[in-house]
Amino acid sequence: MFEWLSDNRASIAAVLILVMTGTFVWSIVVGRRQARLTANDEVFGDPVRTKGGWYWAVCGVSALFLLWSYYSWGVGRAYFPNAANEMCQIAKLEEAVSPIKAALPIGSRYYKSTLLASRNSDQLDNLEAQLEGTVFSDAEKSELLDVIGQVRELIANSSNPANMGEEPKAKLLSLAERLNELSSYIHAGPNGLTPSDEALAQPKWGTTFTEIPILPITERGMLFDAASVEAAEIAGAFNKIRNKFSANDVLIDDIKTRIEALKEINESGEFDELERANREDYVKAVERIFKRLDDGLIFPAAALEDVDTAIANLDATARDAQGGLRFADALFFPGPGIVKSRTQCTEQGPARWLPKPTDVVATFARLANPDVESGGGYRGFPLLWWDWLPIADVVAFFIPDWIADVWPGEYASHGPDGTITPNFKDKLLAFAQGDVSLGHVPMLDGHIWDSLFRVLVALALGIFLGVPLGLLMGVSRFFKSFFDPLIELYRPVPPLAWAPLILTIFGIHDDGKIFLLFMVAFAIMVISARTGASGVLLSKIRASHSLGATDRQIMWNVILPNAMPEILTGTRIAVGVCWGTLVAAEMLAGTTGVGFIENIARTVSDYELIWVTILIMGILGLVFDLIMRWIIQRTIPWRGMG
């Protein structure tokens, strides 16, 4: 069932998108009709105007879904399931011809030859200008000037079409012809090409880690795939063509010997270290420019014109051959499209970091599968499930080992026959360390539960310690003045600033995180309980005194309930802040939890997983808040009614 859903996610998305589009339109129609009905009932600014309006919620949700689907290419994949595969083949062709294009003003603004000539000439000018201020002798200076002149000549010679040899000319011509043939091949269209079985057996788009199947599965794809093979060969041939001729060969040999001679003088040992370094630097700079020019990479612009035209022709043909795909690409695949890199085709633009809704759900379902053996969960640990928890572990958690240590008596030692008879002290230690069998209880388990558990324990501790202290601070000068500076000193520090310290002290396991969260919750609970306690009306306190209540009774029966709204609001805030802090703390250290998953996902750039964790956190936060709202509704309906 899950497999089937997963494999057909594109079709499911297609249906969903249609439904959502319908819902979107329908909600707008309903909304507009409702707006007309109530138009005259309420004046602007009347809070009643914000009541109701569920249809706008539907409208917003469906709009969000549609936008998400669109920018993640969900729409494109739903209605053009083969588009990515075809675009991948086109990207292959693009990749194959890119070395040729790089030499032409198609891939960049100028011919590569133009850039080589102009940049190196500029650098020669610079060197020449610097020559006057160098340490060389006058004779050497004129020699260097001569060499620079020769290198200039090299550039000039290469750029002159008249100098070009017959062989490179012929090669370029045949290359242009091969390109034109390739264009005709593409223009002729896919005649009888059938995708290979291997290609058809590939997983569908989105169901593998590399996302896009790389072997062509359509006729058009086959055509482009085949063209890309030929194009790669042509590009290889193009890379081998050199503009070499005898006039330059002579020049090159001459320059080489003259530079060698200069180098020898530098190394003769006549110069001190600094002078030698300066001389070597200058000569090396000249040599570096020369080396860039000595292997015939500068062609006359006129010589490349044929290739240029052929490539432009190939581009145009390829564009035509794409047919309807071009429009699909422009309309439904926002962003730069698909790029083929060495071994795979990848989506670029928003689709890269924004996974498709169906993919997120599929990833979530995979993680939510509690069967860790068959690939569920994350890193061998389920997302949220249950397991048998030994009761002994729970007991051991509450009984510290030192209780056994301080128990009177000594631990047993091995007897003469080599065996040990444990005494009571040993048994107590086993108890404290959980080395006993007390049966098992079912317990929640998994990454989400681990995160939840940390928050809940910290929150409970924060409430049970923070509320009493806060109440006391609200009624007692001593408690207020004594604890106020302490709490106000640590509270304003962002919790994450404490994290490194606390994780060092308590370790990276639950203790550290729980303590960190406890600090957060505690401060919030103290402050809210204190505000609630000090906000109690004096007349209520006086009335209770007159009714014979003792101080303790007033605390329990008047001040605590009176502070309840603030305490609950504080709890609500604390839940939110704890949750946020926890995820960050889990990203710092640990081996389980939602934040841990996101941290790993971040390091491997698994955007789907990142979005899944974001979604989990959002949903859990929402659930928390709904529960808190429900509790508040139930427990303090009298809020603000006094």
């Binding site: 009306l537 007349s539 209520k540 006086r542 009335a543 209770s544 005194h545 007159s546 009714l547 014979g548 209540a549 003792t550 009774q553 029966n557 008047v558 309930p561 009176n562 309840m564 303090i636 309906p637 009298w638 009614m641 006094g642």
Partner: protein
């Protein structure tokens, strides 16, 4: 012999900002016999609330003392019940838990409490409202709860600080009758503060008109209207010529005091 006696009762506040002394009360002397109904009237700021707080034991006098049944008052106690203007009910509790609050604090038998609550809700006219949250009651009903809560404790003196001040005219009149009825039936000593001259006349068997700066008893009346109010309708009493005469006299008196305050300021 549970008389309320004030001897040279004085209260001086120190303004925390300026450090200036405010003579809220100076040398108050009076004796309120058991079962008497005293209403206290005076311009705003003349120390009425301060006087009541002293007797309730919420604050301690700077000089002189107040005694109830011979014992000096130095702390709040169950024998002196308080009824505040408003906001002193526990809105998180239903009516019945509000009413038996004092009994529960004494750890009284819950069953007995239940019966007493029934009885007192009946007396103040709130039968069947035991489970209603107090914030769902009208202002008049809330004051009935406050009265029942105070009376169920069986105090010797009932102190009321403008208990009907926040009520509308009609409710107020009904509540005035209720106070008179309760006074008659329970025979409690009642001290009631009000800023309404009519109310003070209607409810005051005795009536103090206080004057400000320093707060003192300016004039004392003994009036027949409270007794009469037990039989006659309050509205008729208000048309009595004597009633009108006293009312005008007191109004003029307070008017003059206000003038004086304004003049001095």
């Amino acid at each position: 012999m549970a008389d309320l006696v004030c001897e040279n009762l004085s209260m001086t506040f120190t303004n925390p900002q300026t450090g200036a002394a405010v003579h809220a009360l100076k040398d108050i002397n009076f004796t309120l016999k058991k079962g008497e109904l005293l209403s206290v009237l005076g311009p705003s700021g003349c120390g009425k609330t301060t006087l009541l707080n002293l007797i309730a034991g919420f604050i301690n006098a700077t000089d002189g003392n107040a005694k109830l049944g011979g014992r000096t008052i130095d702390a709040p106690g169950v024998e002196r019940g308080m009824v505040f203007q408003q906001g002193a009910l526990f809105e998180w509790l239903p009516v019945s838990r509000n009413v038996d609050f004092g009994l529960r604090m004494k750890r009284n038998n819950p069953k007995e409490n239940e019966e007493l609550v029934e009885k007192w809700l009946d007396i103040v006219g709130l039968q069947g409202f035991g489970d209603t949250p107090t914030y769902q009651l009208s202002g008049g009903m809330q004051q009935r709860v406050a009265l029942a809560r105070c009376l169920i404790n069986d105090p010797e003196v009932i102190l009321m600080d403008e208990p009907l001040g926040a009520l509308d005219a009609l409710t107020r009149e009904k509540m005035q009758s209720l106070v008179l009825e309760l006074w008659k039936e329970t025979g409690k000593t009642i001290m009631i503060i009000t800023h309404s001259v009519e109310e003070a006349l209607l409810l005051g068997e005795r009536l103090f008109v206080m004057a400000p700066r320093p707060g003192r008893v300016h004039k004392e009346y003994r009036l027949p209207f409270a007794e009469r109010g037990l039989q006659e309708s309050l509205r008729e009493i208000k048309h009595d010529p004597y009633f009108s005469e006293v009312r005008e006299e007191i109004l003029t008196m307070i008017w003059d005091m206000e003038e004086e305050i304004m003049g001095r300021v």
